[in-house]
């Protein structure tokens, strides 16, 4: 049996994804449980994430997206639920998302038009055409964009959490690393630094089974990412990443623990990347049956909807209203920016330093 066939045969059916932390029961409405409005708001962000990405696919096919397009299909649940567990607003908690955490960004207050402008490299994009996709930030709203060097955001977010600690502010940092990213040195250095300093930092390990085309067994020899964190003296749990409630509960627990000064917490979420690394990648290295199984049996949005409807917390009409609202919002955001210009060439120069201003145009541009 070749390794791919072995992998397909042994790929756990979605229902067997280990959840060492018990899945939260549907909140009954008391204590810290989610209200009906909150449950619907979470649904709104799930739907917004998926619909916005579908819109980006359309724009990509029209060559309006300039660079690559990175989907989070199948990971929207964990992205949304985690950010939702933070205290959000001006000068509250700070989160640093990765490429497949569009849902987190939206929950933290990034606007759909900002995402669209970033992908289309518009002059009016948050980075004025300098950076790609979700690589942008608004520290007042509480998100810090990643750079492409995986692992680097762990030490940087440790520094943000260190500032919270030094100032005695009851704020928490939350940072993501993918299964592949846990192989980098900065991941380990940052994790150890944060653990030693007992920083208010929650680290999320996203086990989505694929680092570009590389499967976990070629990436590390441990079974769970949580094992890596435990080596640094950090409490770590593994949860079902496609169960919105489980992710929300685990994150909330870790965040509040960090806020009380108990130090770093690591949450591993087991999920699945259902699209290629980026839109150009046809995923020929993935067994088709595996993809189909995750799509049909373990879609985070479907599972969330079933839970809500099954518990009679919401009616189908409520969800339909949100679907309609999201469609209108994404249409409006697209209309607002799709025809905007790219940045003027000369705007490439300023802003390397606060002072002095950037160098003049090079001499050969004016002879």
């Amino acid at each position: 049996m070749d390794s791919r066939a072995a992998r397909a045969a042994s790929a756990a059916p979605p229902s067997a994804v280990p959840a060492t932390q018990p899945t939260a029961a549907l909140p009954a409405g008391g204590g810290g449980a989610l209200s009906r409005d909150q449950l619907l708001e979470i649904y709104y962000y799930l739907r917004l994430t998926r619909t916005l990405e579908e819109r980006l696919v359309a724009l990509y096919r029209q060559s309006k997206v300039i660079g690559g397009l990175f989907r989070s299909l199948g990971q929207e649940g964990e992205s949304v639920a985690r950010a939702y567990a933070l205290e959000r607003g001006r000068h509250k908690d700070v989160l640093s998302p990765l490429i497949r955490n569009l849902g987190s960004l939206l929950v933290m207050g990034a606007q759909p038009a900002e995402i669209l402008r970033q992908y289309m490299a518009k002059a009016e994009s948050p980075t004025r055409g300098r950076e790609l996709n979700v690589h942008f930030n608004d520290l007042e709203k509480g998100y810090l964009g990643q750079i492409s060097h995986l692992g680097d955001m762990i030490p940087v977010m440790a520094g943000i959490a260190l500032t919270f600690k030094l100032r005695g502010e009851p704020r928490v940092g939350l940072v993501y690393i993918g299964d592949g990213g846990t192989s980098t040195g900065t991941f380990h250095e940052g994790l150890n630094f944060a653990a030693v300093q007992r920083l208010p930092l929650v680290v999320i390990g996203e086990y989505n089974h694929w680092a570009y085309s590389t499967p976990p067994e070629k990436q590390f020899a441990v079974k769970d990412l949580a094992d890596k964190a435990k080596g640094y003296g950090i409490p770590a749990v593994t949860v079902d990443g496609n169960d919105v409630f489980a992710v929300y509960e685990a994150t909330r627990f870790a965040v509040e623990r960090a806020r009380r000064g108990k130090g770093v917490h690591f949450i591993e979420v087991k999920t699945y990347r259902r699209k290629g690394h980026a839109e150009h990648d046809d995923q020929h290295y993935v067994p088709k049956s595996e993809l189909e199984r995750w799509a049909s049996e373990n879609d985070p949005v479907d599972r969330y909807v079933q839970r809500l409807l099954g518990a009679d917390m919401v009616a189908e009409a409520d969800l339909k209203d949100i679907d309609d609202r999201v469609r209108v919002e994404v249409d409006q955001a697209t209309d607002a920016c799709v025809d905007e210009p790219l940045p003027a060439p000369e705007t490439a120069l300023p802003g390397v330093y606060a002072d002095p201003p950037a160098a003049d145009k090079l001499w050969f541009r004016s002879v």
């Binding site: 950076e131 606060a354 001499w363």
Partner: protein
């Protein structure tokens, strides 16, 4: 006035900024109660507390990365590399994350990375490096490299107050060898980006920085006495951004240029300086732009080997003599 060493001047600068601004804090290996490998932060933890003088794990990438995160949040971190040789372990963090932050994301990252550099001290390949050329190629960073006690103090203070990340290189051969009278109770600040004329002359210019400023000055004395050649010495002090105006001024004055640095030759900063002179003052040259640098080898340990590899005063005298006669 009080006579202070280069190291004491640096220490005073750090201390004064810690006193002046509570956002300033230090992080690095053994910087706390031990006071740093060279005792630059001796007594700091006692005065300012261990939360402002933080002992870290041996993790240069984490030190620089955490400094960046804190800087984004309005702090003013000063990260110490125990020896600047180890900054290569944080190269990614400094060049990819820190230096690009303002441009790509509008993020202010006011922070200083400082540490002892340089040879002539029998430190071997990994405790003697001069890494400036590796970082000169990094838009978004500033690089300062003081040669005098006054500038050691003035530049650390200016670096801490700067809005952008600064790499501050301190030559360990100068730490206790250089002494200078510094005013007490008066603020010493050296503007970043301005070179210093270390010696006036009319026949030939030596452009240099760091420890070789002192070797160039020694050479200039000898050339004056032995050859009646008048040598001007320009101490760059800041390598990025480079003070083009001061470089061009001295070229136009003496029309002959010798560039001296302790770093290796190929891809060293001398090449960049030569290119700028070529572009901006070609017609003013009465001879080739020449370089005195280390040989292109990792720095060896044995005194006989190290002395052979690094540029010495004799080398500068010989090169300047040759160029003066050109």
């Amino acid at each position: 006035m009080a006579e202070v060493t280069f190291l004491e001047a640096l220490r005073q600068g750090l201390w004064e900024e810690m006193e002046r601004d509570e956002r300033v804090f230090i992080l690095g290996e053994d910087v706390g109660l031990y006071g740093g490998a060279f005792k630059v932060t001796d007594g700091f933890a006692k005065r300012f507390g261990e939360s402002r003088v933080i002992d870290t794990p041996i993790s240069e990438a984490a030190i620089v990365g955490a400094a960046a995160g804190a800087a984004h949040m309005g702090m003013r971190p000063v990260a110490e590399m125990q020896f600047i040789d180890f900054i290569s372990c944080a190269y990614d963090m400094l060049t990819n994350y820190v230096a690009t932050a303002r441009y790509r994301a509008g993020l202010a990252t006011p922070m200083v990375v400082r540490g002892p550099c340089g040879g002539y001290v029998r430190g071997g390949p990994f405790h003697s490096q001069n890494p400036e050329a590796a970082f000169l190629h990094t838009p978004g960073l500033k690089i300062v490299y003081p040669a005098t006690a006054r500038d050691a103090k003035g530049l650390i203070k200016a670096s801490i107050r700067d809005q952008d990340p600064v790499l501050y290189l301190e030559h360990k051969w100068l730490y206790r060898r250089i002494k200078e009278q510094l005013p007490e109770g008066e603020e010493v600040l050296t503007p970043i980006g301005e070179a210093r004329l270390a010696r006036e002359g009319k026949d030939l210019s030596i452009i240099t920085y760091g420890a070789t400023v002192w070797k160039a000055l020694e050479a200039a004395e000898r050339l004056e006495k032995e050859d009646n050649v008048s040598v001007e010495v320009l101490d760059l002090r800041t390598l990025l951004p480079m003070d083009d105006a001061a470089i061009i001024r001295t070229v136009k004055k003496t029309n002959k240029v010798l560039i001296v640095h302790e770093d290796t030759r190929t891809g060293g900063i001398a090449g960049e300086i030569a290119a700028r002179i070529n572009e901006q003052a070609f017609e003013w040259l009465d001879g080739p732009i020449m370089r005195v640098t280390a040989h292109d080898v990792p720095l060896p340990y044995a005194p006989t080997l190290e002395d052979f590899v690094l540029p010495q005063t004799d080398d500068i005298v010989k090169a300047a003599r040759w160029l003066a006669a050109y």
